[in-house]
Symmetry: C2
Subunit: 602 residues, 2 copies
């Protein structure tokens, strides 16, 4: 009897005999899970985490596990992969430190390019102690020294008396507008948390609010992955499972909470120093994180509950920051154009462009903005998960061993895998490269058909091109690109190309008039622009007009975290954006059909 195992965050899936250990399963499926001692249960490096729903799908913890893992870890679903035997279908999460090399999560940049002007400011206060001659309330005493009629958040008041007395009637008050959101020991730096809450990955940044300096940055997989790979799967899960929406909300909060712990450890800070947070994400992630219903996001006309900027108490959504800390959510534009897009526009200043400029953030949904003739036109296009490695036979995320570059030189295939490991799969940039190179070499026709070639063989899903033979592969079998894989890429790139083409038509701009193309996001940063232009995914314009900017949504979140002016700018951007709904646009279908062709643009 065999069972299905899915390893996250790599997204690798396979069927293996019941009774296999998780470590053995990981090895057979080419998952880079640590296991220094070779499966003796001696090193503890193969620690994995099992989501609640999958816990009964494993053999009970062995005595080795109960020795090596403490009760809290076991309670959170931690197991040793070399000990746990698979009894039924399950999901396994590999924490970053158990991967043979950390998953590549796009987090970069130590500085935010704005002058700090934070919503929350610090005031150091020295109070007169209470006495029978002066029995005013603690709050009145603080108010007097602040010299302002501030309000106090209830959670702050609940700890005020003990803290003031412990600190000898001295304190630093964190004041947000007219409200005190935290009391800290005098001179404690006030920190802020910026989060890009992606469907797949979370990127987090811990900043000093006063200096605007980034103290730490880190990435984590979105724990919601256990409930569905893409936005629509999660919306469905949230609607159909009785506790689905709550689980998704808690998973997002848990992911951000874990990220914050890592950031605080790195920066040697305490979570209660974090007095403000900014979270950006697509509209579905925004809604799922806030516990807002997503039913109307999942059905035409794809209507969000709220598109304006929102402020919520961190504690109300399960985040443990300073007692009264607020989370500021940047505005969304539409059901499929979210705050992450607004943050990307903010960070890249696309809205201020004085020449026709395209911004593309390529993912499962690709958000595109055209700034031209004083307008900001945005759309979202369903490019599918092909570039994240899903729906591709040997597809995987950009983890170690993923082929990320492919070249055909003199009829021979050259490739490069992440961290130089033996290849175990192929990630988005590699898939794009492979298609472009095969097209260039004439192995693929413009409709994606595979020509006769010594390396093309019939396979389960139509003809397959062998990229890596079994001997060289880290998988013990050949890594191939199939006709079906090529179709997936055609669908993805057609969706993207039809998107920017419709926007150009709306604005009355020709393709070659575009002066600047900003490609954002983790995948976009690694792709070979030349190949993308060659197959018609990006406009056929000189390569020097392209910029690959990395995670600008995270940068935008950080800018909004430290600057009130940037928040106002983001709100103005969101109001200015004209949303173009592609699904009902008269030209979209035709553009899409045309764009299925692998053009061979130079």
């Amino acid at each position: 009897m065999s069972v299905t195992i899915i390893f996250q965050p790599l997204g690798r899936k396979g069927r293996l005999p019941r009774g296999t250990t998780l470590l053995e399963a990981a090895r057979r499926l080419g998952v880079g899970l640590s296991g220094v001692c070779g499966g003796l249960g001696a090193c503890g490096t193969c620690r994995v985490v099992i989501p609640p729903e999958s816990r009964t799908a494993l053999s009970p913890p062995t005595s080795t596990e109960t020795e090596r893992l403490d009760a809290a870890e076991l309670g959170r679903g931690a197991r040793l992969a070399c000990q746990a035997q698979v009894l039924a279908d399950l999901h396994v999460l590999i924490p970053p430190d158990s991967l043979t090399a950390s998953q590549r999560v796009q987090v970069e940049g130590r500085q935010t390019p704005v002058a700090p002007d934070p919503e929350v400011v610090a005031h150091d206060l020295e109070l007169d102690p209470a006495s029978l001659a002066d029995p005013r309330s603690d709050a009145a005493r603080l108010r007097e020294k602040l010299g302002r009629a501030v309000r106090f958040d209830l959670a702050v008041l609940q700890t005020t008396p003990s803290r003031l007395r412990e600190w000898g009637w001295r304190a630093r008050a964190a004041v947000r507008g007219d409200e005190v959101v935290a009391l800290l020991p005098p001179d404690t730096p006030l920190l802020g948390l910026a989060v890009d809450l992606g469907t797949t990955k979370l990127a987090g940044y811990l900043l000093d609010l006063e200096t605007g300096r980034t103290l730490a940055s880190a990435g984590e997989m979105n724990p919601q992955l256990a409930y569905g790979e893409d936005v629509m799967a999660r919306i469905t899960y949230g609607m159909q499972e009785p506790e689905g929406a709550r689980r998704l909300q808690e998973a997002a909060a848990r992911g951000i909470g874990d990220l914050l712990q890592r950031l605080c450890t790195e920066a040697e800070a305490q979570t209660d120093q974090v007095v403000e947070a900014v979270v950006v994400g697509n509209t579905a992630m925004h809604h799922l994180f806030l516990g807002l219903p997503t039913r109307s996001l999942g059905l035409a006309p794809y209507v969000p509950v709220e598109s304006g900027p929102l402020e919520v108490r961190a504690r109300e959504v399960g985040l443990d920051l300073a007692p009264g800390a607020v989370i500021y959510l940047l505005p969304n534009v539409a059901g499929f154009v979210g705050a992450d897009h607004v943050a990307a526009l903010l960070a890249t200043r696309t809205n201020e462009a004085d020449v026709p400029t395209l911004l593309l953030d390529i993912g499962t949904n690709t958000e595109i903005c055209l700034a031209a003739n004083g307008r900001l036109l945005s759309c979202s296009t369903a490019s599918g998960p092909a570039f994240e490695g899903a729906h591709i036979r040997f597809g995987m995320r950009a983890a170690p061993g993923a082929i990320e570059r492919v070249r055909l030189i003199g009829g021979e295939v050259f490739w490069e895998a992440v961290e130089g490991r033996p290849p175990v799969g192929i990630c988005g940039s590699g898939i794009l490269d492979a298609v472009a190179e095969l097209r260039r070499a004439g192995v693929l026709g413009d409709r994606g058909r595979m020509a006769a070639d010594p390396r093309v063989h019939p396979g389960q899903y139509g003809p397959e091109f062998a990229l890596v033979p079994a001997e060289t592969s880290g998988l013990g079998q050949a890594i191939t690109l199939s006709r079906k894989d090529v179709s997936e890429v055609q669908l993805a790139k057609a969706a993207i190309a039809a998107g920017w083409q419709v926007l150009l038509e709306e604005a009355g701009i020709q393709e070659d008039e575009v002066q600047r193309v900003i490609v954002a996001g983790a995948f976009g940063t690694y792709i070979d622009t030349k190949g993308a232009v060659f197959i018609g995914m990006l406009p056929a314009i000189p390569l020097e007009r392209f910029e690959q900017v990395g995670n600008v949504a995270g940068t935008g979140a950080r800018m909004a975290l430290v600057s009130q002016a940037e928040r106002e700018r983001a709100a103005r951007i969101a109001r200015r954006v004209e949303y173009v709904e592609l699904t009902v646009h008269p030209n979209f279908q035709e553009r899409f059909t045309q764009a299925l062709r692998l053009t061979g643009n130079k």
Copy 2:
């Protein structure tokens, strides 16, 4: 073996043999618990509620009980008194409908004497349905029709999409300042809840916010009684028991929640129509309800955490009103002069008095305000629980069978009991009457000593005067007033008299210059003013200068509920009040010692 049973809300306590049923115990202790069928378990009228800590002190529910009480009731600790046998010391709560006649709780008045100007106002909206041509967010759509840049509370947003669609894109928005706190079906009246959260009793009022009309009013015992009779006992419980503060918070919220249910049933309304609440209480009740620490309230210099007005989300303190409803808490003045005093000043307009005016709210702590020469001087004096029936041998609250009036005519004792029942004890007004009459008749000297009299006999606690002989008593034994009881009254009245005397001295006013004395609160409304003046508890001025006004704290809460102007007025009053700390006042001790005398003022 005998066990101690305490019946609340009457506050009656006694020792009885282990194995006694609760109904039998109630009868032996003179508690007016219903039992129409005579203890056969057939009528269910003897239903009582056992607080969680006392539940194991009873025999397990019998089959009769599991038949008559449903699982939810049993889960809340409901029992039939005729079935449950006492195994150990315990507290028993008698719900109002199980008392032979409802406890007298001071709730009155159908109107608030102010023009409505509420914080929350209604807007009926008719929206254009969402479509692919107009996919704006639900919130944007509401904002457009409101014509204002409102924010939405998160809990409101969480139910917005389903409700808007259910109601055909029509809704009534409840808007508080710039925030939407509830969405209701079109034309639903917006309601408000005003609560006087007393140490012993809760008084609640349900109002129509638009008209200011009181739709329903009701009283309940404060469920915190299970954790201590007075403020200090509860502060101690909250500090010393591990979960004490949380239990007290939850008990207060539960009490208000139950009261709200009754009010809504009476007014045929839903709790989610309640979009705003005002709660007043003494400073300790205010803190315990909000989960604020009370340690510094219980020790000199008796410092509150917050004395200013406070706004908290109802859901944050466990009250289930409209999703985003806010509770507004009127300001406190000091550790022992709370928002209930401010509300009483507001309702009586004492602050606007143009002649020297005293306001007294008599209770375990008596708050007194003197308005004179443009000043407002307030103090709190520890008058003790004697007038609530505690620490008095046959003392009880003003429940049926409580002697509330006593007269000595021609050497014969005449008395009147609540609802004309056979007397089972004596309540505050009766105790005050008895002392005044015995003093008038010369049975008591000015120091409280009992003269020789045919009805005075030696008792366990010194000489006792027989008010009701055993034959007439509903207790099966004589009801007496002991020398010790008289001492308790002397202590109480001395504390009160010393309080207003110190205030008069502070303001430089003579006793006979006081033109108006407002006596507030449940006890104050029932006392015989003449007797109180006679023993020196109230100033020796003509009786026509006294007013007995009932629960003006509740009236003040209702005024603040429906009027923003009244909230501002209350804040101004609280700032104007000069707090006089009696415990350190140079004259207090001397005035107190003098005031122990039963003066015999005419």
